[in-house]
């Protein structure tokens, strides 16, 4: 039981967007330095390091490579590869480490230079290896195809519409335009999304997340340190994982996923339910995904996630603001960093003071990360206070 046993003492992103002068390791180091400064700590305080993976700089042991690059010698170090679910799962590992006393200060980072570290063709090619090498790749799917198969089935069974999916992208862009750290971009309309280039039906270009240079980091430590921190920490109230498959062909169902189970575990640990969530940072690699997650996590009734986004209630100022930083769709996506930006945003929103982007009620945040093809899930419930 991890409720109230770990806090996120500091959190930060690197510069995001196109950052051609920095390597992936440099982006991770920049985010790490900023997160540690946010926590009032230094690299010399870190005794645990967890990082993710990199497609542009595919080092064999990225955790050890990053420790070497940062000049630290942690007593706990690992690189995790669970796709977009990696940041949440790293938080889970870090929380267990501090709760058991195996580590005191765990630094968690993720990200890479995916926009400028490789050609666009290489990016598409590398990502296509997400598919099964023997039984999927012979048929030429791309990553959006896997999610398109889900979207198509979801629309067929639940009546979710293309317009509702477009609203997800429109809302994300509106939030990104309120975020000074997000790459500059034009406002979007539903028609813009529907008229954008077809990628893998029903998904168009603007239904797909960005490809960015970005990294993100947070610092996990024990609650006893809370009074000494320069800023209010975020309390880990609940966390849960569920892993149902990796390849879309092997998913038992394309309309019910592991997020319902990871969410139930996180809610149970926190002693809270969907009605207690003030705002949410959901994984939005494609517009269909947060619609599904909102339903699975109880933020909308089954089959009504599309209406939730269409209603405007997910906008800042609405009943349940979602992806207040702009999400993977309009803020940043660099491999495993995607979901971590949502964790960083939740920590900041809980603290307060985010200006025009600040949500009105900010006591309880829900963050959801997913990896693969809605394959691996981690739901986190973070609080402004212990519960």
């Amino acid at each position: 039981m991890l409720r109230n046993k770990a806090i996120i003492a500091g959190a930060a992103d690197s510069d995001v967007g196109k950052v051609p002068e920095m390597s992936g390791l440099a982006l991770n180091a920049q985010a790490a330095q900023r997160a540690l400064a946010d926590a009032g700590l230094a690299l010399s305080d870190v005794d645990g390091l967890i990082t993710a993976y990199s497609m542009t700089e595919p080092y064999f042991m990225l955790g050890s490579v990053l420790a070497e690059y940062l000049g630290i010698t942690p007593s706990l170090c690992a690189s995790l590869t669970v796709g977009g679910a990696t940041p949440g799962i790293a938080l889970h590992q870090a929380a267990m480490a501090v709760a058991t006393g195996e580590a005191e200060v765990v630094l968690v980072t993720a990200g890479e230079n995916r926009a400028t570290g490789q050609s666009r063709d290489d990016a598409v090619k590398a990502l296509s290896h997400v598919g099964h090498p023997y039984f999927e790749m012979p048929y030429g799917p791309i990553v959006p195809s896997f999610y398109a198969l889900i979207a198509q089935r979801y629309m067929h069974e639940n009546g979710t519409t293309r317009e509702q999916m477009a609203h997800v992208a429109v809302a994300a862009r509106a939030h990104a335009r309120m975020n000074p750290a997000a790459p500059a971009a034009e406002a979007l309309s539903v028609d813009d999304v529907l008229a954008s280039k077809p990628i893998s039906s029903p998904l168009n270009m603007l239904d797909c997340c960005l490809i960015s240079d970005a990294a993100s980091a947070f610092v996990v430590t024990k609650p006893e340190r809370a009074p000494d921190l320069p800023h209010r920490p975020a309390w880990l109230l609940g966390i849960g994982q569920c892993h149902t498959h990796e390849h879309v062909t092997m998913a038992k169902d394309l309309t019910a996923f592991g997020s319902a189970h990871s969410g139930a575990k996180a809610y149970a640990m926190a002693g809270l339910g969907p009605a207690d969530v003030d705002f949410a940072e959901l994984y939005d690699c494609f517009t269909i995904v947060p619609i599904i997650e909102a339903e699975e996590l109880g933020l909308a009734p089954k089959g009504e996630g599309g209406q939730l986004f269409e209603s405007g209630e997910t906008r800042i100022g609405g009943r349940c603001p979602i992806n207040t930083h702009g999400g993977l769709l309009s803020y940043a996506q660099a491999g495993a960093s995607g979901g971590m930006h949502g964790i960083v945003e939740a920590v900041r929103q809980l603290r307060g003071g985010e200006g025009v982007r600040q949500v009105a009620k900010h006591d309880i945040a829900l963050v959801h990360n997913e990896g693969g093809v809605l394959s691996s899930h981690c739901t986190m419930i973070l609080g402004r206070d212990a519960q």
């Binding site: 598409v124 090619k125 296509s128 099964h132 090498p133 023997y134 039984f135 999927e136 790749m137 012979p138 048929y139 030429g140 799917p141 791309i142 959006p144 195809s145 398109a148 198969l149 889900i150 198509q152 089935r153 067929h156 280039k197 077809p198 990628i199 893998s200 039906s201 029903p202 998904l203 390849h247 879309v248 062909t249 092997m250 394309l254």
Partner: protein
């Protein structure tokens, strides 16, 4: 997508799926059928995911199924696939139970929809390989 030979990639044949690819060369679709519980399974594996049994036989499949979901790909992952865009990637639910990924090929492929009945056919790849493909039933 043409039904003749293409320069699309030959399949990579994993050691635990030899009979699957050999049968495809002979225009037959086979899958592992568990002795323990009778379940057909795909992807191939050492242990039955339903009952854990190692005892199995590569059994013939009817080659009939329905479209569970599908997508039209406009941006291909490689030059060979780029030549044939747009093409359809689908998940088929076989009569025997398992799902498999495929392209929809042949007559009417651009009008295919969820729930449509399909049947297996085989497409030559590389110098001596074939991959199972599906076409609309009766096409």
């Amino acid at each position: 997508m043409s039904d003749g030979p293409t320069d699309l990639p030959a399949p990579r044949e994993a050691p635990d799926a030899g009979p699957y690819w050999q049968a495809a060369r002979e225009d037959r679709l086979v899958m592992q059928n568990c002795y323990g519980c009778g379940t057909y399974r795909f992807f191939p594996s050492l242990l039955c995911p339903e009952c854990g049994s190692e005892e199995q036989v590569w059994g013939p499949c009817s080659g009939r199924g329905t479209i569970y979901s599908l997508t039209t790909v406009h941006r291909a992952p490689s030059p060979a696939f780029r030549k044939i865009v747009p093409y359809t990637v689908a998940l088929i639910e076989l009569e025997e139970g398992p799902r498999m990924m495929t392209n929809i090929v042949g007559e009417g492929r651009n009008e295919a929809a969820i729930g449509d009945a399909v049947e297996v056919c085989f497409e030559a790849r590389g110098t001596d390989a074939k991959v199972p493909q599906f076409k609309l039933a009766g096409a």
